[in-house]
């Protein structure tokens, strides 16, 4: 009985899994679809089937590439072509093809690279995020070691003080932080201004303290007997041992910094220094009419993150699960 019920059960289970996955990935797929379309007309026309399957059409690099080739204005490599400014209706009339298909175009991607230096924003985001991760790992791994493994006056008080930073909501300190950053610290339009305020994290110290706790004291005693300094013990023995904990903290910090929006929005006025989220918002404000350019910008900004995530997904998920258990 139960053995006969099982295969059906498993199939249902996979159907549920697939259905939920559609909810997660369809919005991304939609952005991808919009980004390769040639017109903003709805892919769901009033009469006729939905235009969801593209065929290879305007592959090439540059605005109006195909038109230029048709008119003989494009002369191969290093050539030029006139600007493409046809209205959607004109485009539709000039083409003989089934109405429910649409050509795949790279035009929207070309427009993004023309309108904002998106590669530069990518590098900016990378610099800020890596800087934040390195500084956070250094500060937190230093600070949590004595809290876990040394006995000294004021330890418990200090730990409570550090934990108290988790209780206060972030928006409470946002305004004075901004005033200090602008009036005193000169953080506007600098990368260190995006890194330093987020470097010491109460959560990071708490997390690594738990990791240090799990290391047996004997190892430390043995190293101290051998005459190693406390710093030497920390650097040569403890850091390699807490590597999984550091990886978890690195992932959490990186994702938070990579996605940080409000603070960079407040700090950055020079559009060469924008991070990706600020650059995307800028692109959106710039072309609030052109959904396809926005879609192309979203794809450029998110695909690398998705690729990195799929490579390291095990570390991401186990890291977060470990942080909950710890």
């Amino acid at each position: 009985m139960s053995s006969r019920a099982r295969p059906l059960n498993v199939t249902t289970w996979y159907l549920v899994l697939l259905a939920v996955m559609l909810v997660t990935i369809v919005p991304f797929g939609w952005a991808l679809l919009m980004s390769v379309r040639e017109t903003s007309a709805s892919p769901f026309p009033r009469n006729g089937p939905a235009q969801l399957v593209p065929y290879l059409g305007l592959i090439g690099w540059g605005e109006g590439l195909r038109e230029a080739k048709q008119d003989g204005l494009y002369n191969g490599e290093g050539g030029w072509w006139r600007d493409y400014a046809a209205s959607p209706t004109e485009v539709d009339e000039s083409r003989e093809r089934p109405a429910y298909m649409f050509p795949l175009t790279t035009e929207n991607y070309y427009k993004v690279t023309q309108d904002i230096p998106i590669g530069r924003y990518f590098v900016n985001s990378l610099v800020v995020s890596i800087g934040t991760v390195l500084l956070t790992l250094l500060l937190c791994s230093l600070a949590s070691y004595p809290l876990a493994k040394m006995r000294f006056a004021g330890r418990d008080v200090l730990f409570v003080v550090i934990l108290s930073t988790l209780v206060f909501p972030e928006q409470l300190i946002l305004i004075p932080l901004y005033v200090m950053a602008v009036n005193m610290l000169g953080f506007q339009d600098t990368f260190h201004g995006l890194i330093l305020p987020f470097a010491a994290s109460g959560l990071g110290i708490f997390l690594l303290r738990q990791v240090y706790y799990a290391i047996p004291d004997d190892i430390l005693e043995a190293a101290r007997m051998d005459g190693a300094s406390e710093f030497g013990v920390w650097w040569r023995i403890l850091l390699p041992l807490i590597r999984p904990g550091l990886a978890t903290l690195a992932i959490i910090t990186f994702v938070a910094s990579w996605n940080n929006f409000l603070w960079p929005l407040l700090m950055l006025t020079n559009n060469q220094l924008f991070t990706l989220p600020v650059g995307l918002a800028f692109l959106r404000g710039f072309f609030s009419g052109n959904l396809r350019t926005i879609a192309a910008g979203i794809v450029i900004a998110t695909v690398p993150v998705i690729v990195v995530f799929m490579i390291f997904q095990r570390q991401f998920i186990q890291g977060l699960a470990g942080a909950v258990k710890g």
Partner: protein, 304 residues
């Protein structure tokens, strides 16, 4: 003999003292960098925000005006509207708990390829709220995916104005917050589920409990600490949601203030109108509300 003893004893106490002192000094040296950062970027602002809230401050000149900001705040209908919107936003929390726990149960089953599905569900959590807000603008647009599907199914004749209709703005944005959070909290629940012994479920099935009963009587109590954790984390996140609202309302807070949460009102007063003192008062009052709310939450979660 006695002389040497006298000499030796102070020496040894001095050495012992210096040993403790040395250890304390080492400990503080390890702690110093992080404490310095916290002092500058956390505790100084914490003190300052309270001071600012008693001043009239336009970012350059501050003048002490006592409690005027607070008395004005309590009479400000927009502030109370924004607090109400923030609490409406909290409806996202129970939805998130139910959905992410259900999903965790679904992906907790050992099946080939289930790790892939977990990863796909978690993925939105690593993507910036800005990009996600923009993706969902495309989904909710008049020519967007949702209106397209609904029209194709014949359910609507004219597109639904998800982001223009004042009644729909907040629920629409909340649905994005939920969509983005489900996978993240699912992973937290997964960690809790894996600590529940399998035998309990088997025993319950033998006793004739159906699948709902088994999860209600075994899973829910088993992951209660995680429910409290997810409840606290997701409600704090909901109360300070900003990025999605900023993007999906064009940075305006929505038509007729329909997306004006307290966090957004704070942003508007401080960084659009430059009423830094007044915005600080908003920050102080709203933070107190959050702290009390979280404490009550934790207390209830701990007692049950």
């Amino acid at each position: 003999m006695s002389v040497t003893r006298k000499v030796r004893r102070p020496a040894s106490t001095a050495k012992r003292l210096s040993e403790t002192q040395r250890r304390t000094l080492t400990a503080y040296l390890f702690l110093a960098p992080a404490l310095a950062f916290l002092a500058v970027f956390f505790f100084t602002p914490l003190v300052r925000v309270i001071y600012y809230s008693f001043t009239d401050f336009d970012l350059y000149n501050a003048s002490w005006i006592g409690t005027s900001n607070y008395s004005e705040l309590f009479r400000d209908p927009l502030f109370w509207l924004s607090v109400r919107k923030s609490f409406i936003y909290l409806i996202a929390t129970p939805i998130l708990i139910v959905l992410s726990l259900t999903l965790a149960i679904v992906v907790n089953r050992k099946l080939p390829g289930v790790a892939f599905f977990r990863a796909m569900y978690f993925m939105p959590a690593v993507i910036s709220a800005v990009a996600i807000g923009m993706i969902f603008e495309l989904v909710f647009a008049d020519q967007g995916l949702l209106n397209g599907i609904l029209r194709q199914l014949g359910a609507i004749r004219r597109p639904i104005a998800f982001l223009q209709d004042p009644d729909l703005v907040l629920p629409t944005i909340m649905s994005v917050t939920v969509w983005r959070g489900v996978g993240y909290y699912m992973v937290m629940f997964l960690a809790g589920l894996q600590s529940i012994p399998q035998e309990r479920y088997e025993a319950a099935s033998i006793d004739g409990a159906n699948i709902l009963q088994r999860h209600w009587y075994i899973t829910v109590p088993g992951v209660r600490p995680i429910i409290v954790l997810v409840g606290v984390l997701s409600s704090i996140a909901a109360l300070r949601a900003f990025d999605e609202i900023f993007i999906m309302t064009d940075g305006t807070g929505g038509i007729l203030n329909s997306g004006l949460t307290a966090m957004f009102y704070l942003y508007r007063q401080a960084f659009v109108f430059n009423n830094v003192g007044y915005a600080s008062a908003i920050a102080v009052v709203f933070s107190l509300i959050i702290i009390v709310f979280t404490a009550v939450n934790l207390k209830l979660g701990g007692e049950q």
